[in-house]
């Protein structure tokens, strides 16, 4: 994005609206809202040039709480609205906010095409593995067997992985963060913003009411160091309280394995170094799941590419370079005859 920093710098408070925030007490969305407002201040976003577009769901109320332009659209379709908006005005800085149901269930098709086309927007998926606004049904990211009002015997379908989906769809930027991590998230959001093209960020967000603690096994303070690997481009993929663990590629099975440095002959040289331009690595990182492997957090993949909105703008600019064309000439192009 080409956002020119404003001369009179805005603070995160300047991005808050006068509307009462109506998420449940303890909802992870509050922390995300704070991180986003902080990010907007830090990147010098201009309020008038920034648009938040959402679909339907708890997360989709987000635009009402950000003092920029906002469009709260219909269920699952925010990517399509945002694409049209960027075709009208590619200079706008567009953020999409969605949930796991909105993005991957009813709107899965549109998210796929937004990423495939590489429309220059930031897409934030608040994943809480449950339908919140409709009161607790299982979602496409819910673990199999989840008991919910619509699955009293436990859900029978397998969950989708948002990040694996995004990579499969051709996203040029895929990252992850955790709602409560107020240090990490703004950094990820800044990277997403500076990436030219569709930036996909999955945020693990706790739903206090319907799915409390669902991510606890890798976000709780006591287990987080052992169950999260922070991906930093060019740095070894290590984790554990003392960075004593790491990820190694099993060259036989082409899979990742968690190993401990100094044990079984493992040395630091065996540990993979993160390369965010490697799609195979990103796909393996995105697919990692506890308990055998930690969850990959941070920028998994970042490769800039040509964006759809810019490509369209360039074609239009080229074709309209001569100024407003002669409409009468258009109507008279081709075979005509004159009756006198």
């Amino acid at each position: 994005m080409n956002v020119v920093p404003s001369s009179d710098a805005l603070t995160s408070k300047d991005f808050a609206t006068d509307q009462e925030v109506r998420w449940c007490p303890g909802c992870g969305d509050y922390a995300i809202l704070k991180s986003v407002q902080k990010t907007l201040a830090e990147i010098g976003a201009r309020r008038e040039n920034t648009v938040f577009v959402s679909g339907i769901g708890c997360a989709a109320r987000f635009p009402y709480y950000i003092d920029t332009y906002g469009l709260h659209t219909i269920h699952g379709r925010a990517p399509a609205f945002a694409t049209g908006l960027k075709l009208a005005n590619p200079e706008l800085d567009v953020w999409l906010v969605s949930g796991d149901g909105d993005a991957l269930s009813i709107g899965g098709n549109h998210l796929f095409h937004l990423l495939r086309r590489n429309v220059d927007v930031q897409f934030l998926l608040f994943n809480n593995e449950v339908y919140g606004l409709t009161k607790g049904q299982y979602s496409p990211t819910s673990r199999s067997g989840m008991r919910s009002p619509s699955t009293p015997q436990g859900s029978l379908d397998a969950p989708a992985s948002a990040a694996v989906f995004a990579l499969g769809a051709g996203a040029g930027f895929v990252a992850r963060s955790v709602d409560t991590d107020q240090k990490h998230m703004p950094e990820v959001l800044k990277r997403a913003h500076s990436h030219r093209g569709a930036s996909f960020v999955e945020i693990f967000q706790n739903c206090k009411v319907y799915n409390d603690g669902v991510f606890g096994k890798f976000t709780d303070r006591d287990v987080a160091p052992d169950m999260q690997v922070r991906c930093v481009h060019g740095a070894p993929l290590v984790f554990g309280g003392e960075d004593e663990k790491g990820l190694r590629l099993d060259r036989e099975s082409l899979t990742l394995e968690a190993v401990t440095i100094g044990r079984d002959g493992v040395t630091e040289a065996d540990i993979l170094v993160h390369d965010e331009t490697s799609k195979p690595l990103a796909q393996m990182l995105a697919a990692m799941e506890p308990p055998h492997l930690p969850v990959a957090i941070g920028v998994l993949y970042a490769v800039p590419g040509a964006t759809y909105d810019r490509a369209v703008a360039e074609v239009v600019a080229k074709k309209t370079a001569g100024g407003k064309p002669d409409f009468n000439a258009l109507l008279r192009k081709g075979a005509t005859w004159t009756v006198s």
Partner: protein, 634 residues
């Protein structure tokens, strides 16, 4: 064709040309209906299109009806794979593609089987004998060869081995046998050109341009056309068959072109955006018969038209609305099933009060229905087919060229009233072509658009006291940052509101805004006949042609009837109720089971009566005449 302008005065005098030929005694007729029929792969639509062009150049009035199957290449030789193109042309006013045809070209037995019933008694039928093999006869369902039994008794038949004649004509072209046989349609076209005395030059030029990269194909096709023409000119035609001459029609001065409904609509939408000085973002998803609009508009990038082929119908509607939110004119298009998918998004545009034009190229329904056959059965869907009280204006084009002005009017209303607008056309109008007296864009009023820029006193649902349209404030405008959504808004602030009284007020505001448009559209006029009388024939959309001709025939008989044709379906023109009450009877011919008739009955409590047909074919003039006579004599 290139950008050539041919003045018809420069064309050779047809009478002098005819005199030099073997059959100088052409029969003078004031109109003729010709139907080309063959396999879907035989190029009948192309052949008909070229005949149309040549006929336009001959100075005749004309109307066409392309009629083709849903399958691109249905199994060869089958009846369901028959593709036809009908043209009615003449020296008099032509209003429809014609009822029964004077000449039928049947490229195979299936085409003969399907189309023969539409040929006038004593009509001319041209058949390609090469295709009348046992196998093809069986596929067409003929137990015996119709060329050898009494099937064609009472018709005048020209039997030609077109395959063989074409191969001879192009034998020096170096084309493969398969490619050479593809020239059959041009050979046939050349033959029919002679029968009706059409100039071959427009087609020769078109071939040269089309096959600029394959000069051998251009030459072979031209040779085939010339050969067909020469054979007709020199052969001994069966008794009673001779060439025809159709004089120029009395046509208003002007520069003309042929235009299809889809082209006129595309240019009309672009003209609307041009008059409003806005970019148009046209978002659509391929669907029959709406796709030609997307194709036409995709050529207009230089006119600041951005076309977006979305991933589905819903995305197309949403992207168009997103573009309108960003300050462009958003337009989306589809046919019935696709419109159904867009419904929720259209409701969103109603709720957020953003401009949008939705074009529906209607086809037979319900569900997938009859993709390539015409119908007018989406009127209810347009006027009422959404959740909640969700009013929007609805317009309908009456003919191919009428799409131009109707589209400009749709754009004007969408922008002036900040509302989605439905523009109804149908498969018949969209594909049909007619000559068009090309308008001058300078003759149309500009469409003023004011984006809000003043922060003082702003909220997003601030309404214009006259139109009730809300302010259009674009992202990018400092100081007007606001949030917009599908939840109900507070009348006085635009914030989310669940207040009961406010919902009543907003519902009323949306309703009154749309109803108010009735005072901003032209009063309904009477097309033909008096302002009151015994019977009014009320139509909308593509029934214009047959109703118009039927009423004009009946007026010539001295009947006391009138023709009223609606462009504005919703809101209805404010004088329509009093106007209709001035007639003893109201008859509403529609290609549905009675949708406008129901609307008129419910709005005006008048005993409007339907004349309904959903056969996938347009009304015949005689059908309307008979229905009117029955009511007048009842």
């Amino acid at each position: 064709m290139g950008s050539t302008t041919i003045s018809t005065t420069a064309l050779a005098d047809p009478k002098a040309m005819a005199a030099a030929r073997k059959h100088p005694e052409r029969e003078q007729v004031d109109s003729a209906v010709v139907r080309f029929a063959g396999d879907s792969g035989d190029g009948m639509q192309l052949t008909g299109g070229q005949f149309t062009l040549a006929t336009a150049f001959a100075g005749n009035e004309l109307a066409t009806f392309p009629d083709f199957p849903a399958e691109i290449r249905a199994p060869a030789g089958t009846t369901f794979g028959v593709s036809s193109f009908q043209i009615n042309f003449g020296s008099r006013t032509i209003k429809t593609s014609g009822d029964a045809f004077d000449t039928l070209i049947a490229m195979n037995p299936a085409a003969l089987k399907v189309e023969l019933h539409g040929l006038k008694p004593g009509g001319v039928v041209i058949v390609d004998t090469a295709s009348f093999t046992d196998r093809n006869l069986a596929k067409a369902g003929y137990a015996a060869n119709p060329l050898e039994d009494d099937t064609l008794d009472g018709y005048r038949v020209i039997e030609l081995d077109i395959a063989k004649l074409t191969m001879e004509a192009v034998k020096d072209s170096g084309l493969s046998k398969k490619e050479a046989l593809r020239c059959k349609n041009l050979w046939t076209l050349g033959f029919v050109y002679w029968i009706y005395d059409r100039d071959r030059r427009p087609t020769a030029e078109w071939l040269a341009a089309k096959f600029a990269n394959r000069p051998d194909l251009a030459a072979a096709n031209t040779a085939a056309m010339d050969a067909g023409h020469r054979v007709a000119e020199t052969m001994d035609l069966p008794d009673g068959i001779h060439g025809y001459a159709v004089d120029r029609a009395e046509i208003a001065p002007g520069t003309y072109r042929t235009v299809t409904g889809a082209e006129a609509l595309a240019w009309g939408l672009a003209a609307g955006a041009h008059l409003a000085d806005l970019r148009m973002v046209f978002a659509s998803y391929p669907i029959t018969p709406a796709s030609p609009l997307l194709h036409s508009l995709s050529h207009l990038t230089g006119h600041n038209v951005v076309t977006f082929q979305a991933e589905d119908e819903i995305a197309a509607a949403c992207a168009a609305i997103g573009a309108s939110y960003g300050g462009s004119l958003g337009v989306t298009s589809s046919s019935g099933p696709g419109i159904a998918l867009k419904t929720e998004a259209i409701g969103f545009a109603i709720s957020t009060e953003l401009p949008l034009v939705i074009v529906n190229s209607q086809r037979g329904g319900p569900s997938t229905g009859l993709p390539t056959k015409t119908e007018q059965s989406d009127l209810f869907q347009a006027v009422w087919g959404r959740n909640g009280d969700s009013p929007l204006p609805v317009l309908a084009a009456r003919s191919p060229s009428d799409g131009f002005e109707t589209a400009i009017e749709a754009v004007r209303i969408a922008l002036r009233y900040m509302t989605p607008v439905f523009l109804l056309t149908d498969g018949y109008i969209g594909n049909a072509a007619e000559p068009w007296n090309i308008p001058n864009i300078e003759d149309f009023n500009p469409i003023p658009v004011r984006f809000r820029t003043e922060p003082e006193g702003f909220h997003p649902f601030l309404r214009d006291p006259e139109t009730l349209a809300r302010a259009w404030a674009l992202p990018g405008t400092p100081g007007l940052e606001h949030r917009l959504g599908g939840l109900e808004k507070d009348y006085d602030s635009g914030h989310i509101s669940y207040d009961a009284a406010n919902h009543q007020r907003m519902t009323d505001a949306r309703r009154n805004k749309v109803l108010g448009i009735a005072d901003d559209i032209p009063p309904q006029k009477v097309e033909a006949g008096g302002e009151s009388g015994r019977l009014a024939v009320v139509g909308w959309g593509s029934t214009f042609g047959p109703i118009s001709r039927a009423v004009s025939n009946l007026l010539d008989e001295g009947r006391e009837i009138s023709h009223i044709h609606l462009r504005h379906i919703w809101p209805l023109p404010s004088n329509l109720g009093p106007l209709l009450r001035g007639f003893e009877k109201v008859l509403v011919p529609e290609m549905n089971t009675g949708q406008l008739a129901t609307l008129l009955r419910s709005e005006y409590l008048i005993p409007a009566e339907g004349l309904n047909k959903v056969s996938g074919q347009p009304f015949k003039i005689t059908e309307i005449e008979a229905a009117v006579r029955a009511r007048l004599e009842a």
